[in-house]
Symmetry: C2
Subunit: 377 residues, 2 copies
DNA sequence: CTGAAAGCGCTTACAG
DNA sequence: CTGAAAGCGCTTACAG
């Protein structure tokens, strides 16, 4: 339907809006009956329910979220606060895609996402406190999990339904979804070791983040198990750090023959440094990334990466949070167990030319499809 | 302050929340007086106002957005709906940064941003209709402006405050902010012509968008004025189209010596095709982009681009929308003129090595700073 | 299965 | 400058 053909709203907004009282009058019932009917609750006969619904549709009634919220119903909004410089949203491909995945699931359930960018973790916690006090959101999704994260006890205290993105561990009694970083690390190390590499380096992102620590640990452990050299080079935030770190690796007496970067952007930045130094990829040095995106796919050579689809990650997180919110509303002591349970997303390795010896056949294991559904156990 | 040290909320949310009635009781006034005081309106003496504010703070009172909205106050939320595949959010660096800019200004004014992703333009319009009917938002920002855009009359009909991102023109009576694409085009063409190029090509994005049309027109016109060849190659959405388009350009009897891409991602994709074909940049073919980002900066060679900072764009849009919302609340016939006025953002050209002849000195005109404030006339 | 009532927390005229 | 009241549009017990 073309909206320009729709009948104009009478009064153009100002003035009388349609309420359940109007519907009730027309249907010859009380407003309470209308409420029961439109919310699909028992208490009205099927016949009256249908009549009420028809009238509601005819009158183009829209429920008032404010009135519903004031009367105690859920506000149908979930929140997410980012304690990061605003630039990151634009820079890190992960966030955009993650948000898109969240939105997709939330929209379908008539929920909306409210976002806020703040400067510090204290400000983030204060935002949760206010959102909760104002009943602005039904729940929140928490990202950028850290060790001993102060947000966890704060949220536990508040009792605001929350889903933690990150783990395993360090999320207290809150439910979480996470990609198994130790597993991802093993996939990468094993792949490179299988190609004959004996000196691996990892260019590591922000060391405050839990996943950085988990990767550090797994990287060192796995390399030790396989009896190969492991170099971890800290790069901090952003592409600049990755460039410096890569240069530092090249300057070593014995440079690594393969480098794994913590993000797609870091991998690109590092690759450029390698190329400028005359290193060929993958002949002189193999390159892989913990983060997949359009960038790794489009690059020449295409870069081998862990395919945790950020969109799918967002979808899983949203689904999980809605479960948590639902459970917290129906808590008749029916157990919080199932709610607190965490969910792991299995990482898969997408092998591309940046680690593929010239002329080798494409690895058949994983199709190149950009958004193949990841298994969510 | 560390939040874990904060006193726990009594009752942990369930049960009694602090209301203006509580404050009124403690202060020995009526709830109405409290309302006036906390909202900074006249009607209470300074002494009582101060006393009330102190008590509110002490009781950690938080206003109820639902109650306020129900009583007719603004809901302090603006909406943005994207009728695009969810992937775009993650793929296009522009959107993430634009949203970050929006957030920054909105947060400061205690507004929040509500986003929704839909499939079609009709669904987008339907969303506006519902948001308006439900009083869910105080206003909306409209992106991806097209020619004869059906959203414009729909929003005009509704009377929902809206800010259009795009133009000039084609936004009806709604206010808009836009980057002057004709101007940007002239900057690019003049720069390349000044370097001696006589055969320019433009790899054009989605032709549905108004800015694509404006660029098409300006590109052809300017090249004609300068007496040089202009080739416009349509590429549609995404990187794949840019690759095909670039290959097509290379296959011409007389390939262009310079190519301008409609986005940073397209420029990268095209560049890779050029390099694979053995073209050196900028020696064999110069490359430039209408869109700047971390990608163009990090690439080797760094890519010349139009520096419309997406973050700044978002900031300007948010500021403008809040003005519009404010004006629509105070409309005492005080004129909608100042409200409808559009605002142009001046494009600047950031020259980098992708168009710079080997050995040439860096162009001094524009500093490389990533987020230098753009002049907003 | 239905009806009448109270209440959610605020704002806004309207009298004093 | 202050007080008492009505009303925003719902939902939720609580009687019939």
């Amino acid at each position: 339907m073309t909206t320009s053909k729709q009948p104009r709203q009478s009064g153009s907004g100002r003035g009388q809006r349609v309420t359940i009282a109007d519907i009730a009058r027309r249907a010859g019932v009380t407003p309470a009956a209308v409420s029961l009917a439109v919310n699909g609750r028992s208490g009205v006969s099927d016949a009256t329910r249908e009549r009420i619904m028809a009238i509601a549709a005819e009158l183009r009634w829209e429920p008032s979220p404010a009135a519903r919220a004031l009367a105690g119903a859920p506000v149908l909004t979930v929140g997410m606060v980012l304690a990061r410089p605003a630039e990151v949203l634009g820079t890190e491909a992960f966030f955009g895609a993650f948000v898109a995945g969240l939105q997709e699931v939330l929209s379908r359930r008539d929920y909306s996402l409210q976002m806020k960018i703040v400067e510090t973790t204290d400000a983030e916690i204060e935002t949760y406190r206010r959102w909760f006090a104002q009943r602005r959101v039904d729940g929140v999704v928490v990202v950028d999990l850290r060790q001993d994260d102060p947000r966890i006890p704060a949220l536990e205290d508040l009792g605001l339904p929350a889903l933690v993105v990150g783990g395993p561990g360090h999320h207290g009694s809150l439910p979480s979804v996470y990609v198994d970083d130790a597993h991802a690390t093993r996939l990468l190390v094993d792949h490179l070791a299988g190609l004959g590499h004996r000196r691996l380096a990892r260019v590591a992102g922000n060391e405050d983040f839990l996943h950085t620590l988990l990767r550090d640990r797994a990287f060192t452990e796995r390399c030790a198990e396989l009896g190969i050299d492991a170099i971890t080079q800290d790069a901090g935030f952003g592409t600049r750090g990755a460039e410096v770190a890569t240069a530092a690796l090249l300057a070593r007496r014995e440079p690594p023959t393969a480098i794994v970067f913590d993000s797609d952007e870091m991998a690109l930045a590092g690759t450029h440094v390698l190329e400028e130094a005359g290193s060929r990829i993958p002949e002189d040095v193999a390159v892989a990334s913990y983060e997949d995106s359009a960038l790794t796919r489009t690059h020449r050579p295409p870069i081998t990466a862990i395919g945790r689809s950020a969109i799918e990650y967002g979808r899983v997180a949203a689904t999980r949070l809605l479960e948590v919110i639902g459970a917290s509303r129906n808590r008749r002591g029916s157990s919080a167990e199932s709610v607190q349970e965490s969910r792991a997303i299995e990482p898969v390795l997408v092998v591309r030319d940046s680690t593929r010896p010239e002329g080798a056949a494409p690895a058949p294991a994983v199709p190149e499809a950009s958004d193949a559904g990841l298994p969510s156990s």
